[in-house]
């Protein structure tokens, strides 16, 4: 382990202050700038949140590593490659779509997903399910903030809302009749879950009732038109957010549930959901997670196509939208320090009723709520310059893409990935991983003058590049390995990986965010065939 001696005086003299500043870096950036005394245990607000993000992780990283070097010179504690792997692979999940599911050939070959926590507990969630009453598959990543309650609720419920929105009238009726007469319900979704992805048992009845109300309304509304996926997605998002809000306002006689619905409403979550049906790909995005399509060019190289826009301060349209929704007088206070009202990074989100309810409503709910809520300084805190709520919406932006044979995969990931890696690198790494080394351009000597030594050097280098691919059986794991362990040359550096993963819980958040990734692989043959049929 390199612990160069010349670093020691540096650290001893002037670096101490920089170590201090390192600790100020906050990676939990969705919600920030709260007065320090607001930080409280329940919502697990780390104290360092009081500081705005002043450093980018990259700038910070180097001297952090040096201090670690210094520390470990005495401890000599390192993770071995198998230990690193067991951490990276703890949450990995793969699903292969059966070749013949009895109905139709799917354009999805399967997907790999994985999560690497930085928060404890992790605030990201993921979901994947196959629609059983309609065609298509749903996949989504959810990035929670101010706790994981909202992300958890959305990950459990959103797909049901989408599925119900997509159902034809007759099926809705059939389902309603079944519930009415106590018969067995048609299954709507087949979930593909990692054992760590749990559903809340206690709330299921409550959630079900809200969902039932929704489909009853859909039945009443029966427009007779065929369901448009875009509309279904938008309706489902909005409806779920509305239900979350309503449940919190109404409350629940059961004190546990009552507290739960409040936590869900007062925390927040972004969502990025893909609906794949044949060649039709819809991405509904709310917040700053991102969907990206991996495209293989004719020459075999990889490029990335964005299928979502981040809803944050970097998105001019989004800033514009927020500004038009509020009076001119608020223009200066709406977006401060790249945050909504100077607090919230994503400009769209589920939950977060603090940015949606009127001040009176917030106060009423909190006062009548359980003591835990009342004691929480954060929930009581009203955002500054809060004049014309709502400031926040869960309405998604839906992008449609018609899949082409060159579209090989889709990556859905929370911002934890995107802030460490450029999408072009993501496309290349996943693309090379999925096609495997075999498709790596073979070397041919041809007529060139190559010596044995040169060839040997070239092959050694290629092997080093390939070896990291073989460690992973899961594209998402592979991507996380790169996101966390990449050095300046774009190759995985075990030492760096080991250091990043052995960060103590309280430090981890400062160097990385929760990362959640789903990589969906498409079946080019099926997509090609679909295309031809249409022609």
């Amino acid at each position: 382990m390199p612990a160069p001696a010349h670093l020691f005086p540096l650290i001893r003299n002037c670096e101490i202050s920089r170590i201090g500043s390192t600790a100020c870096y906050c990676h939990h950036r969705h919600l920030c700038c709260l007065p320090s005394h607001f930080a409280h245990s329940h919502f697990r607000y780390a104290p360092q949140k009081k500081f705005a993000a002043l450093y980018r992780p990259k700038e910070n990283f180097n001297h952090f590593i040096h201090t670690r070097d210094h520390a470990s010179a005495s401890q000599r504690f390192y993770l071995t490659p198998p230990q690193v792997n067991s951490i990276l692979k703890a949450n990995e999940y793969s699903f292969k779509v059966p070749e013949f599911d009895g109905k139709n050939v799917s354009s999805v070959l399967g997907f790999d997903s994985n999560q690497l926590p930085a928060n404890a507990p992790i605030e990201d969630r993921r979901s994947a399910a196959t629609c059983l009453q309609t065609r298509g598959m749903l996949l989504g990543v959810f990035d929670g903030h101010a706790g994981c309650a909202c992300a958890q609720a959305v990950s459990e419920r959103l797909f049901y809302y989408i599925a119900v929105s997509l159902l034809p009238h007759e099926t809705l009726l059939e389902i309603e009749n079944a519930v009415e007469s106590g018969r067995a319900l048609l299954p709507i979704l087949q979930w593909h879950k990692h054992p760590n992805d749990y559903f809340s048992k206690e709330a299921s009845k409550l959630y079900f009732n809200s969902l039932r109300t929704y489909w009853q309304e859909l039945i009443d509304l029966n427009s007779g038109e065929t369901t448009d996926v875009r509309e279904a997605l938008i309706n489902a998002f909005k409806r779920l957010d509305n239900d979350i809000s309503l449940e919190a306002q109404v409350g629940d006689p059961n004190s546990f549930l009552n507290y739960l619905v409040l936590r869900v409403a007062f925390s927040g979550a972004t969502a990025c959901v893909a609906h794949v049906d044949g060649v039709d790909l819809h991405i509904a995005n709310t917040g700053d997670s991102r969907a990206m399509l991996g495209v293989q060019e004719e020459d075999g190289s990889w490029s990335a196509v964005n299928l979502s826009y981040d809803h944050n301060a970097q998105n001019e349209h989004e800033v514009e939208r927020v500004k038009t929704e509020h009076p001119k007088s608020e223009e200066k206070t709406l977006v401060k320090q790249d945050r909504l009202l100077g607090l919230l990074m994503p400009f769209r989100a589920f939950g977060d009723v603090k940015f949606k309810w009127s001040i009176e409503l917030q106060k009423r709910v909190i006062e009548s709520g359980p003591d835990q809520l009342n004691d929480n300084e954060y929930t009581k805190f009203i955002p500054p310059n809060y004049h014309t709520p709502p400031y926040l919406t869960a309405e998604p932006e839906v992008i449609y893409h018609k899949l082409r044979p060159q579209d090989k995969f889709l990556v859905l990931a929370t911002d934890g990935l995107w802030e460490t890696m450029h999408r072009q690198d993501v496309a290349r790494i996943v693309g090379e991983y999925l096609t495997g080394v075999h498709h790596q351009q073979p070397i041919a000597v041809g007529g060139y003058k190559v010596t044995l030594g040169q060839m040997h050097g070239l092959l050694t280098e290629r092997r080093a590049r390939i070896s990291s691919v073989f460690e992973d059986q899961n594209a998402a794991t592979h991507l996380i390995r790169h996101a966390v362990g990449n050095n300046e040359f774009g190759t995985v550096d075990h030492e760096r990986l080991s250091k990043m993963l052995s960060l103590p819980e309280e430090l981890a958040r400062m160097y990385r965010d929760d990362i959640t990734i789903i990589v969906v692989q498409f079946n080019s043959h099926v997509i090609g065939a679909c295309q031809n049929e249409e022609l």
Binding site: V450, L452, R462
Partner: protein
């Protein structure tokens, strides 16, 4: 292809006669008549394949006087693997018969240019085999021992001597090397063309661009060959189709199973060095680096056998043609590293080409030759395991002898097609197995090595039970057999670390099993043995068997006879036990790997008579061998029948009940010389009987044992076994089994004449038992088999098997002693006195150990001896 062009030019320039032939053909080929010479309507022999093996067979057949031969080649002569191969003739081979073939090939190629006028590029460069480890050096020393006794010069040298022979070698990691000065390099395609030229001068018709579609077989005999240019009637067909031999074998109505599978093989060609390498520089083989390096046109040619081979053509040939195979530098990377490590001075050498040349490999690393068991007259020579040039000459000679004389001039059983059956013919099996075999080319070959792929194909119904009790397994003819049982709580070394030429880690485990066999009772599952039933409505079974087997089978019902199945020369084609079940039916037990050979032998010789039935019942019975003095107690308690010698004498067979199960065939033989029984149990009763035996045996101290214990027991009792000690060139007279032959009874049987002659004139070799005297079991190298035997300092033969005797606390080697005339080397008669009056030494990897020779087993070993045992003692195969 560079190589092709190169050798074509040389070839045409050097051989005007051939040029006339081919050019005339070519010129006509432009006038829309591609094959001016039409195929003959019939021929005695049709050979398919114009590579080194096909031309070698044609060459030798025509030399031996067969003239009516047609050789068909689908492309051009020597255009397949032969064209691409590296052209190294190396005699350093661990298997004796392979060594002999390579030696013969070397001598043949040396004079071939003179004989034919075709330049073969033959250069005697010598070869250097390098050892990076002491174990490797031991294996080289073992090879050196066997080369020396064959009169092939070779020496073990130090790394410093090696660098003097080849200045480019980096020796810092070497412990020694073997130098074989007479190894040579050839231009392989030209060797093949030279053989073809000589053959065609002898009358062999060669037709290029003619592919064989299939071979027709009627009534079990080859009748003709269908080609894309018409049909040729023939009596003999020789499949020399190399990596296509498998497919060709399967193309006919009667499939001929030729288990081989191709793998890609890469070698590198470079431009010449700044100072071009001398063409006499020895070839370097660095098995620990998995590479070979030869000089080539002032530069080098270097290839190797990688750990992760790439099998190809699994689904047949039509996916990819040889010519289109790609270079794969990433795959070659590790070998390139090894090359630069061995010869760092080559860094600046410029690459010319990476050649991808598929080679065919077989399931046991040995080539395939011989006649098909299903179609008479269908011969095969293929699967050269990347040593086609080294073996081609010798293999062609043996096969030609086989066809002309009916048998080859040496024991080729290790290469015989009939060692395989249909079970080795699965494509998946072959694909997996060759991926293990190809890296093995460079791996250390240690005693008692088992293949790891293609396992658990045939198993006894007790497999899981035994496995749960710590069984460690080996495989014979696809059948899993127990080596020994690892007691609970004891750990053995893992596979890689257990490789040793010294005392193995299971020594004490097997010792305990042997002790139990001696003092109490052990159970060994011996279900793998080949079991046939022969019966007839009249006396046909007895009559025919009496002719085919050397011992008298007209014994009372219920008796078991040990007998050989001899060939015309009196040699053992099989060694078996036959029980007379009734007047008209016999139950025959043979070694496991006899399943195909023995079946074919009997089928070919028994009359086609509907009254006579031959049935393979191997799969119907599970065999449990109860060995030890208390076996009799266990069995009598389980059957409520007296099992003592008076009621159940040795070599007796009876159907009885064991536990609840009835109809168990109990035989009082153990294949070891120890008292005991073998139970032939219908498989559905196997678990029940096993459980009963183990439960009842508890109070007698019963335990499981494996084949290693059996092997130790049988070798210390001087039991020969077929396939290891006995072969088609060994007669009963030569291994002290005259009493198993009915010479005195005036009955005619196969091999009788040869035996009578031997009885009259004496034998030229004698099976002898050696007890190593000054051998330290813990410290010294262990004998294996194939060690040279020296009598009064002179070489007299080789060992055929060996084992540690836990009773004698000494190593016992079995082997044959010859009497070579001191001056002429001629073989003289071996007498008992000759054996007894010598001082013997056994050479283990160059170190000689004193040995005491014995012609009879130690009688004092037998504590629980019974009268009739003596008969059984003298022998029977165990494996």
């Amino acid at each position: 292809m560079f190589l092709r062009v190169l050798s074509d030019i040389q070839w045409r320039a050097a051989n005007p006669k051939w040029r006339r032939m081919t050019s005339s053909r070519r010129s006509t080929s432009t006038t829309a008549e591609p094959h001016p010479v039409s195929l003959p309507a019939q021929a005695q022999v049709v050979i398919c394949g114009g590579g080194i093996t096909g031309t070698s067979v044609a060459y030798h057949l025509s030399k031996m006087g067969w003239k009516d031969i047609v050789l068909l080649e689908q492309g051009r002569l020597a255009a397949g693997t032969t064209r691409f191969c590296a052209g190294i003739v190396s005699t350093a081979r661990p298997v004796s018969i392979e060594l002999k073939m390579a030696h013969y090939s070397n001598k043949l190629y040396q004079q071939l240019e003179q004989e034919t006028g075709v330049p073969t590029g033959y250069t005697k460069t010598g070869s250097l085999s390098l050892a990076q480890t002491q174990d490797r050096l031991i294996s080289l020393k073992r090879i050196a021992s066997s080369l020396s006794v064959m009169g092939i010069p070779c020496e073990i040298i130090t790394p410093k001597q090696a660098v003097q022979l080849h200045p480019l070698i980096n020796i810092h990691d070497l412990v020694g090397a073997m130098y074989v000065p007479e190894d040579a390099l050839v231009t392989s395609a030209n060797v093949s063309l030279a053989l073809a030229t000589a053959a065609s001068r002898n009358g062999v018709q060669i037709h290029e661009r003619t592919s064989v579609s299939h071979v027709t077989v009627q009534k079990g005999r080859v009748t003709g060959v269908e080609t894309d240019r018409g049909r040729i009637q023939c009596q003999y067909f020789v499949n020399c189709a190399g990596q296509w031999a498998y497919e060709l074998g399967h193309s006919g109505e009667v499939p001929v199973h030729i288990p081989l599978h191709a793998c890609e093989h890469f070698y590198l060609l470079t431009h010449p060095l700044a100072e071009p390498l001398s063409s006499s520089l020895p070839t370097v083989v660095d098995p620990d680096g998995r590479i070979y390096i030869r000089n080539w046109q002032g530069g080098i040619l270097s290839g190797g056998f990688e750990k992760n081979p790439k099998p190809l053509f699994t689904e047949g040939r039509n996916q990819l043609e040889i010519q289109n195979l790609q270079e794969d530098w990433d795959h070659f990377g590790p070998l390139l590293s090894a090359l630069l490590r061995r010869m760092p001075g080559l860094e600046a050498l410029q690459i010319l080409q990476l050649v991808n040349c598929p080679e065919s490999f077989t399931p046991d690393m040995r080539c395939i030759m011989g006649e098909s068991p299903t179609a008479r007259g269908y011969f095969v020579l293929a699967g050269m395991n990347s040593a086609g040039i080294s073996y081609g000459g010798g293999a062609g000679k043996y096969l030609a002898e086989w066809m002309v004389n009916g048998y080859p001039s040496d024991n080729v059983w290790p290469l015989d097609l009939k060692r395989f059956g249909t079970l080795q013919s699965s494509r998946t099996f072959l694909r997996h197995r060759v991926m293990e075999v190809m890296p093995l080319m460079c791996d250390l070959k240690v005693p008692r090595w088992d293949f790891q792929t293609g396992r658990q194909l045939r198993t006894s119904p007790l497999y899981d039970r035994l496995d749960a009790q710590g069984a460690r397994w080996m495989e014979k003819h696809g059948f899993e057999r127990v080596k020994y049982f690892v007691p609970p709580g004891k750990d053995l070394l893992d596979l890689d670390h257990s490789k040793t030429f010294y005392k193995p880690d299971w020594f004490d485990i097997v010792g305990a099993e042997v002790k139990c066999c001696k003092e109490a009772v052990c159970v060994i599952d011996m279900s793998s043995f080949t079991k046939f039933e022969i019966s007839s409505t009249g006396d046909e079974a007895l009559e025919n068997l009496q002719y085919l087997f050397s011992n008298d089978l007209d014994v009372p019902v219920g008796h078991v006879v040990h007998t050989g199945m001899l060939n015309e020369k009196g040699g053992y084609e099989n060694d078996c036990s036959i029980a007379r079940l009734s007047k008209r039916s016999f139950f025959m037990i043979s070694p496991t790997d006899q399943q195909v050979h023995c079946w074919a032998w009997l089928k070919n010789r028994l009359p086609d008579d509907s009254n006579l039935t031959l049935e393979d019942v191997t799969w119907k019975y599970t065999a449990l061998n109860l060995i030890g003095p208390r076996a009799v107690d266990v069995l009598s308690e389980l059957s409520y029948a007296p099992m003592t010698a008076e009621h159940f004498p040795s070599l007796f067979c009876k159907e009885m009940s064991v536990g609840y199960a009835n109809g168990i065939r109990v035989m009082s033989i153990t294949h070891t010389g120890e008292p005991g029984f073998v139970l032939y149990i219908p498989i559905e009763y196997a678990l029940h009987v096993y459980n009963e035996v183990m439960n009842m045996g508890q109070k007698y101290g019963i335990r499981n044992a494996g084949y290693y214990a059996l092997r130790s027991l049988r070798i210390e009792k001087f039991f020969a076994f077929w396939g290891q000690d006995l072969d088609a060139f060994t007669t009963p007279m030569e291994c002290g089994r005259e009493f198993q032959v009915k010479l005195e009874k005036g009955m005619d049987f196969v091999g009788q004449e040869a035996l009578l002659e031997q009885k009259q004139n004496g034998v030229y070799k004698r099976f002898t038992m050696f007890i190593l005297e000054d051998h330290d079991t813990d410290m010294d190298l262990w004998p294996w088999w194939g060690e040279p035997i020296f009598r009064n300092g002179r070489y007299v033969g080789k060992t055929t098997s060996s084992a540690y005797s836990y009773t004698l606390e000494r190593h016992v080697c079995l082997g044959f002693v010859h009497n070579f005339d001191e001056k002429t080397g001629e073989e003289l008669v071996v007498t008992t006195d000759f054996i007894n009056q010598g001082e013997y030494e056994i050479d283990i990897a160059g170190q000689r150990f004193q040995a005491k020779a014995k012609l009879y087993p130690f009688s004092s070993l037998f504590t629980q001896r019974r009268r009739k045992d003596e008969v059984e003692l003298s022998g029977y195969q165990t494996e």
